[in-house]
Symmetry: C2
Subunit: 376 residues, 2 copies
């Protein structure tokens, strides 16, 4: 538990549940990453947590911003981020949104298909574009699907096509998977990126950008490598694979910047048993899968919990949310144990919940309000 948040929770009168984010930790994480990876421009992934205080603080630190929608672009512009510090990083954009972003000065766009390239060429002529490439990566806790990116051979053809369409074929992007803890995955991806640079050079196109996406983890139930270790692994991989012709480098951290800066304070609504041969207690919190903890889907992200009875006797539990939806269960298969003294009304803190919580929250499911949030 971050000390400033612990002190704040001692006296604050908050709705329950509520996310509390320590913006100093956000700034610290950003600064550490910038120091560990001096050759990279950091594009904060706004979707991880678009709180005004976070965007404002990172803007003042000099961060760039990776955005998914006009809503996020307008948010950055409101915080006086100049458009040359904004990437429209979603490969799935309505053409009218591309036109709107272009009118506001955004000149950097992601794509992974010919249809998207044509939209960008029409509505953001001459812009820099980078192609997201599908890569086989392992070791990420929040899995990547094949939703984004195209096969490397197609990427090469599309970058050639980009130049034909009058765009600036700027480079490639990839993503090693969110909450990636295997540092060798960056090197494996850079091998493929470097091969694409070579293939395009043979076709007369000099790529300049490697966008390494995100993947930097938060600490949930298990330890993760430090930000410094990530920086070192990426620096070494870049040196190994690109030698003395180093590319422009972008990273797009979200979770790694804000995840461990946030704590959700929730309340136990009910502790019950089911009878029969089912020995486990069921612990129902006032926050669940539809109110901010969507990343417990398939029990993918396993948060750490703090209770007022920690240190006492524990027993296995099933942990669930407060709604009448049978799918609103947080952990049933993961081996969670909680103190036997836990009872309705107790506060339970869910650690490292600064990323991908508030904005995932349902707008009014079961008549409950969305997850409240405060930055300190």
């Amino acid at each position: 538990m971050p000390p400033k948040i612990a002190r704040f929770l001692e006296t604050a009168e908050l709705p329950s549940p509520c996310l509390v984010v320590d913006v100093d930790i956000v700034a610290h994480n950003w600064t550490e990453l910038a120091r560990s990876l001096p050759q990279a421009r950091i594009f904060y992934a706004v979707k991880a947590n678009p709180a005004n205080e976070i965007v404002s603080r990172l803007a003042r630190l000099g961060s760039c911003f990776d955005t998914a929608s006009m809503g996020e672009i307008d948010l950055c512009l409101r915080h006086r981020v100049s458009p040359d510090r904004i990437s429209f990083g979603n490969t799935i954009k309505k053409e009218r949104d591309i036109a709107s972003a272009f009118a506001k000065g955004v000149r950097l766009y992601a794509f992974d298909s010919e249809a998207e390239l044509e939209k960008i060429a029409r509505s953001a002529p001459g812009s820099k574009v980078y192609c997201r490439v599908l890569m086989e990566c392992e070791g990420a806790e929040w899995p990547l699907s094949r939703k984004f990116g195209c096969e490397p051979e197609m990427a090469a053809d599309l970058l050639v096509r980009a130049r034909e369409l009058g765009l600036d074929a700027y480079g490639v992007s990839f993503h090693v998977g969110s909450q990636q803890t295997d540092l060798t995955q960056y090197d494996k991806a850079l091998v493929q990126a470097s091969a694409l640079f070579d293939a395009l050079a043979e076709r007369g196109i000099e790529l300049k950008l490697v966008n390494m996406g995100g993947g930097f983890p938060s600490r949930y139930r298990t330890d993760v490598p430090s930000i410094e270790a990530y920086g070192a692994a990426i620096r070494e991989a870049l040196a190994r694979r690109f030698g003395d012709r180093q590319p422009d480098v972008i990273v797009e951290p979200g979770r790694g910047i804000v995840g461990d800066a946030g704590v959700i304070q929730s309340e136990v609504v009910l502790v019950s048993e089911k009878g029969g041969n089912d020995q486990r207690r069921w612990v129902y919190l006032d926050v669940g899968k539809f109110h901010g903890l969507a990343e417990t889907m398939d029990e993918a992200i396993k948060y750490r919990l703090l209770t007022p009875h920690d240190g006492g006797e524990t027993a296995p539990v099933v942990l669930a949310g407060p709604t009448c939806d049978s799918a609103d269960i947080l952990y049933e298969k993961a081996d969670y144990r909680l103190p036997t003294a836990l009872k309705a009304g107790d506060k339970v803190c869910i650690l490292a919940t600064g990323a991908y919580t508030t904005t995932y929250s349902a707008v009014a499911f079961n008549g409950f309000p969305p997850l409240a949030s405060i930055c300190i």
Copy 2:
């Protein structure tokens, strides 16, 4: 496609995506069910769709309301539903919410554990309570977990305990699973309910209520039995299992009332290919798992789609939402085919989306607004 919605969509200027609900269909479905099951009181499950126009119309028809939270109770009261027509049907309630509901006149509460009973006895003394019982049911498309209910033996003990605590041990509830298409499941559940009535009678408690929950389906990709068939199956099962000592009966339909009354009009954002051996096109809509289509989780609910090119040549697709979340995929395993002529900008209508869509929608994920909704 309901004709009134089709006519409305021809000329209406709507944001995209947008849910359109024909409230006349809602009223028709409610009236059909009331006619088919005259011995039951219908408690509309507000969580399925809490739009003001729906609650208002059903209130005027004389419906009762199954609620999950104070938010839903207050909504009903604002529409002049008297508190004796409201059930606080969530088995997971904060004690201060029970006290608040009691102060507003609500006298009917669900429970499935001793801890919840004690809260109700303290904060809603003398109220009618019914115990949700775990039953083994098969055939539902949206699966039920063990989250709600307790084993029948425990239910019997808890109902005895309810009387000791000064509550009115009113009856039992069960749920056969949402989108239940196997009509024999109601009979199987009533066998167990009737056994509980007998067991409690031996302990001096005369139960009166059987709350049969919901489960009535919408028509998605496959045909489902009619409302009349449901009514007939339940009537016969009640006659068979309770003979001439018929209980009070409650049903709690949500999906079966509003599901097929709604259509989401969405827009194709991108049609793309991935290259390599992957032959399927990817079709990205501007609505996805985090903007109203949460029930596509694990591809559970399979919606029907209409496009402007229906009737033309089709090919297999993967269907996905517009966000930068790799989990925002609607159908990858289910065998969906769409016209090869489909392209960005085309309107795609998603049928039978009146239930469990708007309120599941994320508040601002990826900077996109929540799903818009209009009742006609």
